[in-house]
């Protein structure tokens, strides 16, 4: 039965599961989206003559390094969940999904703290302070929104797992697709951390 359900998701000509293929096509298009936002930041970060402070004067590198580490480690817990479901180890799958969601929430809390610090700083750096700040908040805000969507998908998977007692790979929201999305969010942060935070 599950084999039949699984086969319904297979793409006839490629031999790749339709949901997985759809996720790869979506992620491929997301490069354009984040490429635009990163380019926008690079374009505006050097523009002077606007009210200060600029993002590069505000960064707390040790704090952001810890956030980056947390997101990197969430990729580890995510891949361990993916590995566990392929072995049909439901308990481990559930544990690693919840761990990934928690690490995602820690990252989001860090971002909320960082944004709050910037806005409460004297003088404050708000989205309207200067074009660089605007580009920074847009880029990191959209990335944060992607992380939030990932956390919601993970919690949905965890909820399904607790409710039904097991996660199926055949139907519904697929762990492998969510894992791909999560790792994508991680690789985008790898670029943002270097290009936005570490390179002045």
């Amino acid at each position: 039965m599950s084999d039949i359900a699984h086969d319904e998701h297979l793409h006839e000509s490629t031999g790749i599961e339709t949901r997985k293929l759809a996720m790869w096509i979506f992620l491929s298009s997301e490069f354009m989206f984040f490429g635009a936002l990163i380019s926008n930041y690079l374009l505006f970060k050097g523009r002077v003559g606007y009210p200060e402070p600029y993002p590069s004067e505000m960064f707390d590198i040790p704090f952001t390094s810890v956030s980056s580490f947390v997101l990197l480690m969430s990729s580890l817990t995510m891949v361990l969940a993916d590995h566990a479901i392929h072995r049909d180890d439901q308990r481990a799958t559930r544990t690693w999904i919840v761990a990934t969601a928690l690490l995602g929430m820690v990252f989001l809390s860090g971002q909320a703290f960082e944004f709050t610090e910037f806005v409460l700083h004297d003088p404050p750096m708000k989205i309207s302070t200067n074009p660089a700040a605007s580009a920074f908040f847009t880029l990191t805000g959209f990335h944060g929104m992607h992380v939030l969507i990932g956390v919601i998908m993970l919690l949905t998977l965890a909820g399904t797992s607790f409710r039904k007692g097991r996660l199926s790979t055949a139907t519904g929201l697929n762990l492998e697709s969510v894992a791909l999305y999560w790792h994508f969010v991680d690789i985008i942060w790898i670029v943002i951390f270097t290009v936005v935070y570490l390179i002045k």
Partner: protein, 105 residues
Amino acid sequence: MTTDAPIKPHPSPKQYVQIAVILAVLTGVEVGLYYIEQAGVSSRIVYPTLIVLAALKFVIVVAFYMHVRYEKSLIARFFTVGFVGALMLYTVVLGTFGVLAALGG
């Protein structure tokens, strides 16, 4: 049953942890380079190194955690088309506005 099976076997949990350690070390080196640049080492040395390290982390996550290394080549092609397309487009855009020259110091 399914034609969606990976081409090569995926890494073990132990290997995933080893990969995570490598990623963590690379991140540590990146942060260290940031402070080295703050201490006065030329950005002409530090910035390209940071970009190489970020690219390395990027490739490691894509290859091992996203399993591109172990899957059908079609997936790698989808990924490459999106990534290289975006890279080329925005390199041209940033080059046009002189941003790349400014980054090079």
